[in-house]
């Protein structure tokens, strides 16, 4: 008959390497037997004593792991930091490249905007999950392999430059700028195939005058691309007087033609103006004035903001000395 002890010993021993099993089996039986004997001596019934002894020993898998020093964690302290650094590095590099690649592929294939966004988000998430899984799997295997894999030893030269703190502070600006610019560019392309719904049906009426595609829309899209590059440069180097000057040029190159096209009636598609009931009767003059003032205000502020940040940056570096 199979006793509880037999079952316990079998459950614990089967997780061990074949070579260690016989010895472990004997040792464990000795230990359980001694505990049972002690309990029986103190007046317990043999069956109860056996049960209580096994409860004391606890989960057989945990017990076996403690006998052979097997780790009970996926990745222990030895590899944790290496795993974490590598994972972060790979996520930062691979995921954006994969996202950009998928997006580019979709654009070339001529997918519609919904499908473009959906596929890109889906693929990006799945790339991230795959990356996390495989990297973690490799380290979990390492953790369980005998022998030491040479770990990179830390040296003071690896210390980050304190400037990187400021860079981390600019990361929010970078993400906000790039997201806004990309959405803006997508919106410009998207509106071409119709931005007006009548009774839930998309009408083929664009917002911007299709004639602008001959020059001005590519001009604006090109500026948006330059703005993305500019945002990355700002992230990497911080604001300087030169960059604040370039910001003035970029902003003027965008705003002045846009306002001129708007005021001379070339910006918006006549069919769109008709569809939304522009110019809202008598208030039209005031509406146009408000739009112009707001656009100029935002532009001027953007220019001033660049110079303020450049001045602040300079003061900081003079004070801090690093």
């Amino acid at each position: 008959m199979t006793t509880l002890t037999d079952r316990y010993v079998w459950a614990a021993a089967r997780t061990l390497p074949e070579t260690q099993r016989a010895e472990f089996d004997r040792e464990l039986r000795e230990r359980i037997g001694d505990v049972i004997d002690a309990r029986v001596e103190r007046g317990a019934a043999p069956a109860d004593a056996e049960h209580a002894a096994l409860v004391e020993l606890g989960d057989p898998l945990r017990l076996a792991a403690s006998y052979v020093d097997r780790p009970l964690q996926l990745i222990g302290p030895k590899y944790f930091l290496t795993w974490w650094h590598l994972l972060k590095l790979l996520l930062i590099i691979v995921v954006p490249i994969a996202a950009a690649g998928v997006l580019l592929g979709q654009v070339i294939a001529g997918a519609d905007v919904g499908q473009m966004i959906g596929t890109t988000i889906g693929t990006t998430i799945s790339v991230g999950v795959h990356l996390c899984f495989w990297v973690t799997l490799v380290f979990a295997v390492l953790e369980r392999s005998p022998g030491t894999v040479p770990l990179t030893t830390w040296t003071p030269e690896q210390l980050p430059q304190p400037r990187d703190d400021a860079r981390a502070g600019r990361l929010g600006d970078l993400v906000a700028s790039v997201v806004f610019l990309v959405l803006f560019a997508v919106a410009i392309v998207w509106q071409q195939s119709g931005a007006v719904w009548i009774d839930g049906e998309r009408q083929p009426i664009p917002v911007l005058d299709p004639a602008l595609w001959s020059f001005w829309i590519p001009w604006f899209l090109g500026l948006i691309a330059l703005e993305v590059v500019f945002a990355i440069v700002i992230y990497l180097r911080g604001w300087t007087w030169v960059l604040a000057g370039i910001n003035v040029l970029l902003t003027i190159a965008f705003t002045v033609p846009a306002l001129w096209l708007f005021l001379s009636g070339q910006l918006l598609d006549p069919a769109f103006i008709e569809a939304i009931g522009w110019p809202w009767g008598e208030a039209s003059g005031a509406t146009i004035a408000v739009i112009v003032v707001v656009v100029i205000g935002v532009t001027v502020w953007d220019i001033i903001d660049g110079f303020i940040k450049a001045a602040r940056n300079r003061g900081g570096s003079a004070l801090g000395g690093y």
Binding site: E27, R29, E30, D34, V35, D69
Partner: protein, 117 residues
């Protein structure tokens, strides 16, 4: 974490190394797991069975203990004995233990006189 848990955790940490030393000294006379457990606990060196048995295995693997199966009785038992390397380690650990004890004692005296000042 409650104060009790904190205390228990620190006490366990303090005792961890002393169990090794106690085993090395006690096993100059060969003995088996359960008898060793009983005798250590009887002496007031409190150790859990789930700590002691794996520890014996590890010390044997490190060459600090040797073992031999005794099959004369009804139940075969593994008898451990401190090896010469184990003796050396026991001497080193004892010296260190004494040094720490002295240092703590001096620290106590110093802080006592410091309070009086």
């Amino acid at each position: 974490m409650s104060t009790d848990e904190t205390t228990t955790g620190h006490i366990q940490e303090l005792r961890r190394g002393t169990v090794v030393l106690a085993c090395l000294i006690r096993l100059r006379t060969p003995d088996y797991g359960y008898a060793l457990l009983e005798s250590l606990n009887g002496l007031g060196i409190l150790v859990d069975a789930n700590t002691l048995y794996p520890l014996l295995r590890r010390l044997e693997k490190q060459g600090l203990l040797t073992s031999e199966w005794n099959t004369e009785e009804a139940r075969p038992r593994k008898f451990y004995r401190t090896s010469p390397t184990g003796e050396q380690l026991a001497a080193a650990l004892t010296t260190d233990w004494r040094r720490i004890d002295d240092a703590l004692a001096r620290l106590e005296t110093d802080s006592d006189t410091g309070d009086a000042r």
